[in-house]
């Protein structure tokens, strides 16, 4: 049992179970998983199972075998998540999902909120580095920098307490009243609703600034004045 649990990890998801395997040989992992299932049949009976196979390269026959073995035990395999494109292909061939809502670390994050009030905001207390993409159906507040190569897409406003040097899209669903403000507003690209502006200004002496769509329907920036 101990040896098995070092190979596989099982987690409950909202809509089923997520089993994570590592890179150990496939046959051992499969055997371990089946053994685990056989040890607690009542726990697994009728379960929907998603399988995270890390970077294992799996072909059709291997996945079919596993799916059959699982279905004999009353478990339906519905998703296979993998870092390997070959395995993803295989899973798609078999009509299995290759994504579940579990966010991968540091990759694209899509946050969702039940009963979204108009003023819901996502607060991020860190610097967003290159390669990070934040999507949110509300406002986004960042306490830190947004580095070049990072992206924020928000349905509402975006406020950055730091340097905004990545790409930002406020009012992504078409809200032309949305705005973007930052202590240093030097984005690679700035979009509000469907208006686009690239590289607003070179650095220099940064001042708090905000961007919005003015009365003429153009993107405009203005320094933040107290009072």
């Amino acid at each position: 049992m101990n040896e098995m649990s070092s190979l596989i990890q099982i987690k409950g998801l909202r809509d089923g179970l997520l089993v994570s395997l590592d890179d150990a040989p496939w046959d051992a992992q499969r055997a371990a998983l089946i053994a685990q299932v056989d040890a607690q049949p009542s726990f697994f009976q009728g379960a929907r199972l998603a399988l995270d196979v890390a970077s294992q390269v799996l072909h059709v026959n291997e996945l079919v075998d596993l799916r059959d073995q699982l279905s004999e035990r009353g478990i339906s395999l519905w998703a296979v998540i993998s870092e390997s494109p070959t395995t993803e292909n295989t899973a798609q061939l078999l009509g299995l999902a290759t994504r579940i809502s579990k966010p991968r670390p540091e990759e694209t994050r899509q946050f969702s909120v039940e009963n979204l009030g108009e003023e819901t905001a996502l607060f991020l207390n860190r610097t967003l580095r290159s390669g990070t993409r934040i999507e949110f159906a509300g406002h986004v507040v960042v306490l830190g920098d947004v580095n070049p190569g990072a992206e924020i897409v928000a349905d509402g406003n975006v406020m950055v307490w730091g340097r905004l040097r990545g790409a930002v899209h406020a009012g992504a669903k078409g809200n032309r009243k949305a705005m973007v403000c930052a202590l240093d507003l030097s984005p690679m690209q700035l979009r509000i609703a469907d208006e686009v502006s690239s590289a607003l200004k070179p650095g220099g002496n940064p001042k708090p600034e905000r961007a919005l769509i003015n009365g003429d329907g153009k993107l405009q920036t203005e320094f933040w004045l107290a009072g």
């Binding site: 890179d23 670390p105 580095r129 290159s130 390669g131 920098d145 070049p148």
Partner: protein, 265 residues
Amino acid sequence: MPAKVITITSGKGGVGKTTAVANLAVALALDGSKVVCIDGDIGLRNLDVILGLENRIVYDIVDVIEGRCRLKQAMIRDKKLPGLYLIPAAQTRDKNAVSPSDMNRLIKELRADHDFVLIDSPAGIERGFRNAIAAADRVLVVTNPEVSAVRDADRVIGILEAEEKGPAALILNRLNPSLVRNGDMLSPEDVLDLLAIELIGIVPEDENVIISSNRGAPVAFDQKSRAGQAFRNIAKRLKGETVPFMSLDHQNGLWGRIQRLAGRK
């Protein structure tokens, strides 16, 4: 004391990861440490060439992992430094021949008998990179003062943070002080401002690096080279010593003086 495992990575290719590994390994070994360096760039191995050990390769890391030889058989001892070993990469396989757990196992075995294990990561953020950072206690990120290299370094640092590999330290390689002075190159301040991590060393641009790499004798052996000095300083910092940063404006030798007299610098 068990070995410290240090991975050198960068995201972008060609910024000097392999050169940094070779030089840090030499500098640490010159200082009396027992060092083993691992070439993680399976399929595109280089570290053996830079260390001048290419012609001694019999077994490689994939042979060890797949059980065709014992670990000791794949460890090549350096020609000059008895405390320096290399585990070469396989040239005829690809990165999927090794998994992060293989690396963990291998390095566990090395920890007992050495002071430092240096791992040369391949470029990119895929499997080879994941292998290289799997067992790292500490990660050094190499970058050049160029926008694209810094962008990739930022991405890599983000991944390291997400994987909770601890704070990475930065080696800024191939800095040209006169270009920085003229405002034609990102300055160390610009780079650190963006990356916001600890700086462990600045290596000035030095043509001796290429010359010595081609000869298979890393520049850290060269007591006169400024790049060599920079790598030796980084090695000392890895050992926990406090070494002041070299002055970048300092001009060495006759040529520097002539250039200054002629008003070129």
